[in-house]
Symmetry: D2
């Protein structure tokens, strides 16, 4: 991964700022012959789209994607695909306050220190608006996966908001699309709604934990030792705005286990190995086992809040800042489709890498 590109063979380069004319993803290494149209990609963008309820920013963006290249007569041609989303709701308001002050906990200050200048309009390139491009690329990745390896399913959902985690005994996959938090726990959804509403009114924000799983991934994907599947998932998730932690399978909890407890014992089923448990989160030695791939990541609270915080100006004067604008009280909500997109891209990338280096040389047990 380098600068604005991620992926080895399926390479996604994103571009664009929060308040520029447009943003998008230039996607290279796309397999040819994949059936795709704008509507297919749009469904995933709609999931991430701002302004859908009171728990996300009130900026109104249709986030309509246009395919500008790489697709002919409804199929990918194998050449680079350009996915563009035009910005339409960039308010021409006064950014004076943010232009001179740095928001604590925000990339304002580091972009300035790094580049000597920054596009302060809505956060410029550091804005989470960049993730729209990822979701578009993820939609293309999903279509390619459906073409090459039908049966792979990627799904994300929220498992914690602030200190409030879901109750795993209430986990109901059918609930995920039924609430604004993409959570499988309907009781938590209600609790969070009240909690977040209050935080929003208080001019505050809160963090969250998202879980993303991939089902149906065949055994054998991942390229040790620096292109491991978990390495690339970790990088992909950590590259999302506001993410501060990533774990695979039992993650940090695996540090508390003994070797006896942590062993996912193996039996032989009709279609190959069957595991007694999935502490590993579907990855051993950086290679998929065929089990469900399980990843979680933590999103910190938005730094753009209405409560005043101490900060300094570009000139070095001490002051306070209040961020008015239109901001998400819990950016974790919209991080769900972003995490899904990253997972879809990583899995497709490794499917192509594996096909390239290994082909059908893999071993069959039994």
């Amino acid at each position: 991964m380098s600068l604005n590109t991620f992926g080895h063979l399926f390479r996604v380069t994103t571009w664009g700022e929060s308040h520029g004319p447009a943003l998008g993803a230039t996607v290279d290494g796309v397999p040819p012959g994949v059936a795709i149209d704008e509507a297919q990609i749009q469904q995933w963008l709609d999931k991430r789209k701002p302004g859908q309820n009171k728990f996300t920013t009130q900026r109104r963006e249709p986030d309509a994607v246009k395919i500008l290249s790489g697709v002919f007569e409804g199929r990918t041609t194998g050449t680079s695909v350009q996915l563009m989303i035009e910005n339409t709701d960039q308010r021409s308001k006064d950014y004076g306050d943010i232009a001179q002050k740095f928001r604590p906990g925000h990339a304002d200050i580091t972009y300035f220190q790094k580049y000597g200048l920054r596009d302060y309009r809505g956060g410029g390139r550091s804005s989470a608006r960049e993730t729209a491009a990822r979701v578009a690329a993820g939609g293309l990745a999903r279509a390619a996966l459906a073409h090459l390896a039908p049966g792979i399913e990627v799904q994300g959902y929220m498992v914690q908001m602030g200190p409030k985690a879901i109750d795993r005994s209430r986990f109901d996959r059918a609930q995920i699309d039924q609430n604004p938090f993409w959570t499988p726990d309907a009781v938590a959804a209600e609790d969070w709604a009240a909690y977040l509403d209050q935080l929003r009114k208080d001019g505050n924000s809160v963090g969250a934990v998202i879980e993303v799983v991939a089902r149906g991934v065949p055994a054998g994907l991942g390229a040790p030792v620096y292109g491991k599947l978990d390495t690339d998932i970790a990088a992909a998730m950590m590259s999302i705005n506001a993410v501060k932690a990533v774990e695979i399978g039992d993650g940090f909890a695996s540090a508390t286990l003994t070797g006896v407890e942590n062993a996912d014992e193996i039996a032989m089923g009709p279609d190959g190995p069957v595991y007694s448990s999935n502490h590993a989160g579907g990855i051993l030695g950086g290679i998929s086992t065929g089990q469900e791939i399980v990843c979680r990541f933590a999103v910190k609270p938005t730094s753009s809040i209405l409560t005043p915080r101490k900060t300094i100006t570009v000139a070095g004067e001490e002051t306070e800042i209040v961020t008015k604008g239109r901001h998400d009280p819990c950016v974790g909500i919209r991080a769900v489709p972003v995490g899904e997109a990253m997972m879809a891209c990583v899995i497709l990338d490794h499917l192509l890498l594996h096909r390239g280096q290994v082909g059908d040389a893999g071993g069959v047990i039994g």
Copy 2:
């Protein structure tokens, strides 16, 4: 990052297996003029070397590094550096059991499923022995950092073994080199010694959490949005054997915070911005703030244990496995210098990247 290489400009490619004749690191993009010799690198390898006490594997390897290229008259020439470590204590014992059976929780099965064959001697390429090459490369990275940006310091230490975390109130940096666990908490060190000794006698193993910090890193390093400093740290740590989780700054705990709590407020000091706290772990928007960079990662327990576990053979027959060999009861111990090495490499890489793309264009506050 791809396959066996990591880094953008400072590129480290490792090679070698646990029981092959040698292993090493081919290091490209090394700045010229760096004073280096084998002794400098050796000190870090000695820190990771097996067989130093009863808490690590009893394999006896001197892990003596040889510099085969890229250095002339005590200085790097700017060409690729080859760092080779010969294996000397590969026992020619019978690997029959492991050759046919897969250790639960180990990469045995996925390497076979991926590649159609595997080097079962000591785990082959999937062995943590590969990390010796990383430590060697890290030693070179430290020398280059000392040359280009004196004052940067990278240090790792263990903060948790199994369920037993250190007490931060006892944190004493001077203790770190005084115990076999590289822990800053002398009381924990004693407690862990007894705990791990019992686990070892029981034929069991345990996980751990390691913290790595980098001090003195200037503001401005990191290349958004896919070469973010935290993205690359996450990938670097997750690529280490047995690592299942990575976090930066407050990490998963940041999910529990509100925006008001999480804000690292900024004041103006004599040398630039001063932060009231470091929830961010020294990275905002993927770019270093100039604060201490703080990373933690979790290592799962070794899967090679003396307690029998259920598994299958290559032929698909169900059986049990007991791993005799010589194994670490807590691989987290030797992961400390490995984590340090990865951090040093990532920071050097970003120093070079920044110098290349940005040079001295960065902004000065005040």
Copy 3:
């Protein structure tokens, strides 16, 4: 270089087809603070623009570039820059003939064999229209060079059309912009005009040789042994449509020389080494010497001609083909600004690479 991206640090990814809605270049690794606007880039696109005289295709494209990202208040921000050119003159005529038949000497057949489908409208991705995106990226590279290393000048010109080479004794740099062939030999320009006009009327086409020089490049650029300056120039030029050969300095003629003849002897001037000659074309061991960098490349004749040629259809039937459309009788003409753009990109890329790996560690003679 990989797929649709070229460059190491200054990375240009192009996208778009001849008859799609738009094409462009996603440019990553751009140094921050470079003054740039659309007009600056447009001047180079205007040089390549079709339909300017009877010697180039009659397709009328304004080739107006839009900067969609990475520039704020007239300066680059260090983030990815999107340069988009909308297609406006894609005729909705019948492509039936080309859709089913393969033009001999054209990529029609190999794109089909590779990808299983192709965008036959105007050649799709294989069209030289892609080079507009290169010229746009080259304009940005020139601006960055002017910012970082003022005094570097890149210039291309045609030195041969078909069998007719220029007379070097008439070489007059001032003539280059005075004729439609960008040639420094005014006599050749007149001769070629008549020659090409006849070929065009005959429904034929012809090849050409272009020379591109870079003046003012400092000594020390180029990264041995696989990122040599000449290696990257060769790749850059060979990647241009219809190019079949590349040479540096004396090129193929150097094979005919003895070591005594080929030696560019070195004396000491007031500002450093002075060479008696430049057989090397300004590059030794893959690193610039400080002399003029000289590169030549050969462009084959357009395969899209009005004279019937034998071919086959997708179904494998033997037939003949005549390509009507609007085509350049000598694509070499418009390859001049493309070659310049590639040279500018390569030099900027190596300036950044050198700054990143080496900084100011280079040696000074005397």
Copy 4:
């Protein structure tokens, strides 16, 4: 391609200097299951080995290759392969003259200007000795090709020495292995022997042209637009020491042709398209046609000659230099196996890339 690595998926990183303890190639992305041993690789190294006759350097190096990793029980495991060649005949003579003076036409001066220091012993990293590592990697690439796509054959030979080109009417492939110049023209071989002997006695050297062909390459390899097959071949050949020019098919001669002449007309044969000619050298639009791939490159004369040439010292003093040492009077001879190795690597790389991105989606005609 970057710095010391070439290739996209089959990635070769070379290391080592002329007079260091060893040199080698770290090869990543090797397909698993390829039968390989040291003897197979050695046969190609023996072809390049110095000191075999009076027309090459008298340095005596066995160039014995050792496989240090990535191979188990006679087959590649899919992990990184280390190929090491120890240097044995580095004479500990006085290099004082070369240490202070720069050879005209040699990389001495540019390495110093770039890196601020250089390993002057035998040219250090800039020595053609580095190409031994390429030949070793090429041997591995040939074995992988034989495994994955039997029938692909790569062969190089010399077609010109100084001004003396072969007579194509005498082209006899059986002659290639019968003379010290690897030329298919037995008459030229005799002529060149006398010519080169005289040049050697005169303390002079001479350039050459090598042709490398690949037969049996399937249609469809090559990744437009910056990973074109010819782009990568051009880069690979231009990266070889002393190479100044590369051409594909008719190369520079194609500039002299009209479109009517240049068209390789297509008919339908029993196994697919049949071409009337091969002006294109087997590549259209950067993708292989299935015809023979034909590449030529020019090698300049060795700059290390016994005839005195004017130069300067590191201190900037004007002087003369005579290079005693042991040098090839025509480095083109040993460039033959190097060119073959590069071609084998590029084709394997593109076979893997194609398999990864496209798989079996390619189109079949008829």
